[in-house]
Symmetry: C2
Subunit: 358 residues, 2 copies
Amino acid sequence: MLDLNLLPDGGISWLDASGPDCNIVLSTRVRLARNIAHRRFTVRSSAEECKMVLDEVEAASNASAQLRDASLIRIDELGPVDQQLLHERHLISRELAGLENDRGVRTGAALLTDGTVGMMVNEEDHVRLQCLKSGFALADAYADLERLDADLGRRLTFAFHDEFGYLTSCPTNAGTGLRASVLIHLPGLVLTKEIQKVLQGLSQVGLTFRGLYGEGSEVVGNFFQLSNQTTLGKSESELLEHLGDMVQKVIEYEEEARRILERDAPMVIADKVWRAYGLLRYARNLSFEETMNLLSGVRLGVGLNLIPDVSVYTLNKLLIFTQPAHLAQQEGRDLGDPALAAVRAAFTRHLLEADAGR
Amino acid sequence: MLDLNLLPDGGISWLDASGPDCNIVLSTRVRLARNIAHRRFTVRSSAEECKMVLDEVEAASNASAQLRDASLIRIDELGPVDQQLLHERHLISRELAGLENDRGVRTGAALLTDGTVGMMVNEEDHVRLQCLKSGFALADAYADLERLDADLGRRLTFAFHDEFGYLTSCPTNAGTGLRASVLIHLPGLVLTKEIQKVLQGLSQVGLTFRGLYGEGSEVVGNFFQLSNQTTLGKSESELLEHLGDMVQKVIEYEEEARRILERDAPMVIADKVWRAYGLLRYARNLSFEETMNLLSGVRLGVGLNLIPDVSVYTLNKLLIFTQPAHLAQQEGRDLGDPALAAVRAAFTRHLLEADAGR
């Protein structure tokens, strides 16, 4: 069984809610897609070629200052619960976790990480460098990543074209290979029914949104991942600045929506957030989706200073640890076990009781 | 404003949940309909005649041992909130509270009570002697009432016919004039969907059911009033024994239903009762109907020993004090004030917090 305690902070240091605007923006993620020159893209590679790529990347990483003490986790050697667990921690993509299709996990698929900075190997591209930070921290995350990119680039030759930039398996990633995203909580805009307008506005300026688990995932609990759509034709700093400006605006819209709710419907909001708290605190059976929706209500209540006894850290922990694979691993159960709903409720209850000091 | 503190126990000593089977049977009520001979029934009486009836009854009561220290409350001198308040305490009928129709409250309408034993004057009949006890206590309640009836009968001449027995305004009450009812909580039979069968069975043996507020009221919160339908052709003791036997059976059916729920769906039940508790404990807005339904859930949880921190006394208090007139009187508000939902939630929360010891 995978022991995530071997990872510094279990790979989820961002849960500590130490970053800027961390009540509304849970985390910032930046990734760079890179491929090794003169090797076939992963989708066309044989198992042997994938393994060679992994060996080369691992050797280069060992020589880099940032990843010298990093853990290498062979995804292809894990069971399905552990694979999904890493995905639930936002450390590996659906594809790398073998959740995308029936083909399962590719030979040589691996995660190399020091907890905050790391990379997926043999995902859609040979290397996906990534950095995950607490709160709204695009510049910080990219700075760490740029350092790692430069470091690895000295040891590996990345496929690069003078006109197209970094070459990637899917053309939508070519150019900078950069995708930056923030995981943002927008209950105010959902409750005031402004959310569609805001999301449409974002798509008009080249940004896109996804659910809690990235591409193809549904929006639950009013959590949205906002990210850049284009990777080509602009510099990294232009892309980051543009996304940053837009996210800043969305934060302001959300804050304005919350002010309107507080002004026009204080009782309705108080009732809503406290009911969510009451259910999380006492229910004995909680589905994941209901949990996300109730956590959204409590998070709003904490953001509006209506609920004093819950920390954002606890809310972040609940977001991660009430997911199916986390509960299944903890209890030694199957992913589909219906008893997980009771385990989820007990876990949630105990964390909230601890925060309330009893 | 009516000060119910002047009544011993505010007329609601049964709330203390001291009676037999008090978790399932909240209270027992027995009443005897009596009319003074040679006076017109109340519906045909002038205001003066009603006033004369009241004076005669009051004089007779003052001479009785049981009612020597009783309070006389002139319903016709109260405002609508206070009238409804007495009705909410089950001390006066809908009719006496003027809630039945647009005619308002009859002159001389009064409640005379020492808290447990008492009478309504100038209701549908001249006198409705009544006794309200905690739990399942038909014999006890009737014994108190029989004493009062005999006592008053020595000073007042009741209309009595050798063949028909006591004469009453409505023929359905003639004979014994006795109606006995128990207020019973049947969530187990509702959840197992056995309730219709049980209620149909009762109607086949001459019993009937009503909601929380007697005739014409809807069932809320799984609370049923079970009572005898017929008053004629049987003795008082036969009527009471028959009702008692049937209620005993219903209690057994309810207990059996609860055992089945505990055996077949323990998680579903635990989840249901704890969610009800969580909502009552934290909601900021509660309608009366939702409150009754949630109280039903918590009462079931307490009955099944799932919820340790709530007393049946508290549940009984909540049943009475979260009603509209009680909240309106307490806060000096109108009955229709939408803010009562917030007052109800606050009251509920504080009582449950007190029970939980924080």
